[in-house]
Symmetry: C2
Amino acid sequence: MAVTMNDVARAAGVSLKTVSNVLNDYEFIRPATKQRVQDAIAELGYEANLTARSLRSGKTRMLGLVLSDLSAPYYAELASRLMKAAAQRGYRVLVEQSDAVGDAELNALQGPFRQLTDGLLFTPLVMDADAIAGRLGKKPLVMLGEHILDPRFDLVTMKNGEAAAALTSHLVAGGRRRIAVLGARADESAGSAGLRLNGYRSALDKAGIPFDPALVAPCEWRRDEGAAAVAGLLDRGIDFDAVFGLNDAIALGAMHELLIRGIKVPEQVAVAGFDDIDEARFASPSLTTVSPGMAEIAERSIALLIDRIEGRETAGEGVQVESGFQLQIRESAP
Amino acid sequence: MAVTMNDVARAAGVSLKTVSNVLNDYEFIRPATKQRVQDAIAELGYEANLTARSLRSGKTRMLGLVLSDLSAPYYAELASRLMKAAAQRGYRVLVEQSDAVGDAELNALQGPFRQLTDGLLFTPLVMDADAIAGRLGKKPLVMLGEHILDPRFDLVTMKNGEAAAALTSHLVAGGRRRIAVLGARADESAGSAGLRLNGYRSALDKAGIPFDPALVAPCEWRRDEGAAAVAGLLDRGIDFDAVFGLNDAIALGAMHELLIRGIKVPEQVAVAGFDDIDEARFASPSLTTVSPGMAEIAERSIALLIDRIEGRETAGEGVQVESGFQLQIRESAP
DNA sequence: CTGAAAGCGCTTACAG
DNA sequence: CTGAAAGCGCTTACAG
């Protein structure tokens, strides 16, 4: 049997409530009493039972993180940072993978997962704003790194459009005119893919370069899909002098396929990505990309969610946070 | 207020216990009763309170996963698979990052983290067998992908030594004689690093190639460290014709550094890694490595841990599982 | 097959 | 500042 608060109370000669007060940093405790309780805790090696605390208080001090796939490098790095930011504030992060399946997202939103957490960081890939708003419940939810700009939701994201435009302009400044875009999603205009695609188009507009839909290839945001997408363009005989992967994984997959086929990067085709995952620096050639300020995203989304949970943030409408970005110009598109 | 079992019992006209029986798939319930309860559950939208269940039963249906850093690609892929394997069996995985810090490992082993989980998958980098055995507690613990081969512990791992030897023999068969090893750890002879290093040495022995300690460079298992380690060898003027990174991240970092310096891979220096992370296939040149059967490791470690938790595995001594491996010969060391 | 009672270990009003 | 009581929502013996 584990040591309980009752044991501590008995050992210290006080009531249960007094022990509870000490544990919860209640202000008005006589120093001597407090000391006696703390001594008893130390002596008995008492540790609070978190489950009992949760049952009574209704709080778990866990945050839910819903994303499609933890093995994607961007999400892995993000999850790692989020966990550290949460730990500093006394919270843990419980991760749920949705595999970009709608049912899984729905489950994370209202199933048992929700019960286990005091609030959610949510990266929806399938559900739209109305579907989410309809299942919202009363626990706080912060949209993460995603697209749904809706006054009903808190959102921590980056300047997807601006950053994509800046990257595209950089490619144009390097003399590229036919820039293929990999990773667009047909069904999604407001999502990250859509926002980045819009940024690309606006940069082309600004440069007076006509938009060619033949240069836009949809694919999932993985290395193998990026490779397949660029292979498709080549096999269809489509001419291009640059590739913009809507994330780094796509770009790295595409770059691999180009090199395999003997196409020189960046001499014949420049390649650029998005996310600045660690891998981008060490690719050969190293990958030009956009750094989305992941540290800031992690820090601010955790802070916002916990502020909501603990009632410090009380804005009726959603709070929108946009982190800054930085171009990382490297060998693949100098 | 959420719907409780009491509400369901009242609606169905049965006692609490009967509702509990239905929820827990107790065999002997009259079908009509069961149906009435299930109808009431559906009608009221009842969902069991997991916290209350945990408090009473002492089970959380969560598994703890302790590793150094979730953003390392191997761990990210492994965690993703473990979560899926656990989910299939009705368990969740709660991840704790130790940053390879001893205190953090100790905390995960006996702090509140332990309370939240029914069992642990543990990848210790600092603590040794005796330290762990001393803090073991009564909840099951499975050593994961690591070195501690001790009859007191359950262990799921791979054939580190054999695989490293096979890879080294492959390099030797390709004509390499001076094979640098990156990622050795001075303090660790039994760990993964030590086992892989031993495999390397035994393969050299077999080939009649003398072991040269100057070719062994210690470093952390990250890309930047692999790059720095190979840079160190080059700057010290040490001659080598192959690099064996003790994991893929090291090898990829080293390969990047070689290419930056105009050294041709594999013509001048062959490069090989260990883990077969997705990134290895898409590197340029693609990376020769060892596939450790991660799917098998994930599946078997989850199965073993849950068998322990649920009392199906009752061996008094530790159960040792070694997954198979496969050489992945690619461009960096054909 | 089903019920009434006890209790897991805390926190939360409510008194004083 | 501190105490006695109630109760969070379940499961677990124990009866019958």
